[in-house]
Amino acid sequence: MVPMLEQTEVVTAGLVPDPMLPLPYRIQRVKQETADTFTLEILPEDSSQRFSFAPGQFNMLYVFGVGEVPISISSDPGNVPLLKHTTRVVGTVTKAMRQLKRGEVMGIRGPFGSHWPVEEATGRDVVIVAGGIGLAPLRPALYRLMAERDKFRRIVLLYGTRTPEDMLYRHELERWRGKFDLEIQVTVDRAASNWRGNVGVVTTMIGRAPFDPSNTLAMLCGPEIMMRFTVMELLKRGVAAERVYLSAERNMKCGIGFCGHCQYGPTFVCKDGPVFALPSIAAILGKSEI
């Protein structure tokens, strides 16, 4: 029997750190973002625990006894060790995660994977195209862009959601729009008659969006089909393929290259991705069932 402890602690054995062992993090706040999406703010139990991450990386979140899922880090990389994860409730683990309350403890492994090339955007226009929950992994990039706004030229966010009510981070986006030079265009699949914004898919906004294709870096995250048509539109406008980045999604059981589940052609999404430069996956993007 395992000794009972009120205290939270990690017992480390052996010499090699075990990358499959979650570390305990305590929930500081649960924020309902939309009808089916919530954000957990968490801090490591061990206050000496260091954590740094780059925008676009993800953690494996463990809900006691239920399971573990990959969720992007959606907070400000300049404000660690506080971490925020914005999650949409879709199945077993995400449902159980939604039940967690402030003060409860969950397990975290990470950060894993590749990141958005924020530095590479210096001196360029930046186009961010997000679909639905896809805005969550892009928010850390936005924090970085806003923190050093002068380093970049135009910054355009094209955001597609199902309905106006499904928009994430609304207040924050509006604050940024007011404070910094940030162009935001939102489109929805359907809306009540009082919606004065765009209706339709996000890809239709690319043709008219204000950026200079010859000097633009694009970051895309959303459903695969949306990203594929976005890529086509961006290339049509003349954006260089090597300056288009997208975040892929695959089933993940380990996050560290052991389980094989996240394979996408020759890549492992957990370690070669989730953020890919377009040329590295261009040959398989759009092929079905890869």
Binding site: Q7, V16, P17, G65, G103, I256, C259, K287, E289
Partner: protein
């Protein structure tokens, strides 16, 4: 008559690569030398009509005088004319079941109030294994799994512990099995590295003995406990002739020239539809394959809900769940799953790890219930390179 001599401390120091001769009756001492050094010795033994890998207490547990007949979908044991100990090819088991166990607890967790305590497994409790009778293809397969679990950014501590403690007695194949093609994959039949000792079994004129090649200083220490003598040229040539013969009698062949590019440009080849007519997506091929490393995890709790465990078990890309993401599986069709498997083995593996994921052991051919043959499937695609499927469904239309 050969008089065996114990290599005394004062004798010529032996070097890696040196060859010696050990008589059949002294092989027991070799196995016992491993036992006395605290190794759990595992190796080939007969069980349920097949040669499997299991615990060995003595060389009497080896399948003496047995061989096998293997072809697509069939495996049959047969008596040999002699009492050879290693006169068969590989069976349904591979060593991955010891290094990367089929079912493994990763950690336990306890909850009390709002606290959470994660307890790692005590890895040193794992046995110190000596593998007795590892074939060249299997040494290559172990080296390939090392790349997955030891040589990436992250290291699997359990695998590392078992791997570091491992002692390997290899066996060069004196006979190729009906589904073997290690020669095509440059993975055999001679053990090149990764062993402490490598045996070649020699039977000649009523004499039964082994040419023993030293692969490490640990191998030299083990050999020092066994009567042996330096090998002469005739012994070495005898062993070479046997290996030559094995190389020339592979049951199967696979052309590997440009195979990665071949498969990359044939994602839509009609052969994938053809094989789907036969494939049962039973996952046998991935389970028997010595390089397949895929696993899944399971979380369990006890009745009180205060104690949880996380287990890891072998998984296969042939299952529908393997690629599930919210809304459905990425590889829902059997066609795409067979394509994933074969393309991973022969092509994407090269991009991922710098080597092929196939060592030509032939297990997937033998243990496929309908006898699907990776060499035939790859050959069929090569023979009709870049033919497009009649209705190309690869691109979703805008």
């Amino acid at each position: 008559m050969i008089v065996p001599t114990l290599l005394a401390k004062t004798a010529e120091p032996s070097h890696v690569g040196d060859s010696f001769v050990v008589e059949r009756e002294h092989l027991e001492q070799l196995l016992q030398a491993l036992v006395s050094r605290g190794y759990e010795v595992v190796g080939p033994t007969l069980r349920d009509g097949a040669i499997v890998y299991d615990h060995l207490t003595s060389t009497a547990d080896l399948p003496s005088g047995w061989t096998d007949e293997q072809s697509g979908g069939t495996y049959r044991l047969k008596r040999r004319q002699d009492q050879a100990l290693f006169g068969y090819a590989v069976g349904p088991h591979s060593w991955k079941k010891f290094l990367c166990p089929p079912l493994q607890r990763l950690w336990q967790a306890a909850r009390n109030g709002k606290g959470l305590r994660i307890l790692p497994e005590e890895e040193r409790a794992a046995p110190k294994y000596a593998f007795f009778g590892v074939r060249a293809c299997e040494l290559n397969a172990i080296a390939i799994q090392d790349k997955v679990f030891l040589e990436g950014q992250f290291v699997d501590p359990g695998y590392k512990a078992r791997r570091e403690d491992l002692s390997v007695v290899a066996v060069n194949c004196g006979r190729a099995g009906g589904t073997c093609f290690c020669a095509s994959m440059n993975a055999g039949p001679k053990a090149a590295s990764g062993f402490d000792l490598a045996l070649t079994e020699l039977l000649q004129d009523g004499r039964h003995y082994f040419l023993v090649e030293l692969g490490s200083t640990r191998g030299a220490e083990i050999l020092s406990r066994v009567p042996h003598q330096p090998a002469n040229e005739a012994d070495k040539q005898h062993a070479e002739r046997i290996l030559d013969h094995t190389t020339r009698h592979m049951g199967r062949q696979l052309e590997t020239l440009g195979i990665k590019e071949l498969l990359y440009r044939n994602y839509e080849h009609p052969r994938w539809d053809n094989v789907t007519q036969r494939c049962l997506t039973c996952a046998n091929c991935t389970i028997v394959c010595p390089t397949c490393f895929c696993t899944t995890v399971e979380d369990v709790t006890d009745l009180t809900g205060e104690h949880a465990e996380r287990w890891r078990r072998w998984d296969s890309c042939f299952t529908v769940d393997f690629s599930y993401i919210h809304g459905g599986s990425v590889r829902a069709s059997p066609r795409s799953r067979y394509r994933q498997w074969m393309t991973h083995k022969l092509a994407t593996w090269i991009d991922q790890f710098g080597v092929s994921g196939c060592v030509g052991c032939g297990r997937c051919i033998t243990w496929c219930p309908v006898g699907i043959d990776i060499t035939v499937e790859a050959g069929a695609i090569r023979a009709s390179d870049s033919i497009k499927a009649p209705a190309d469904q690869s691109e979703d239309s805008p």
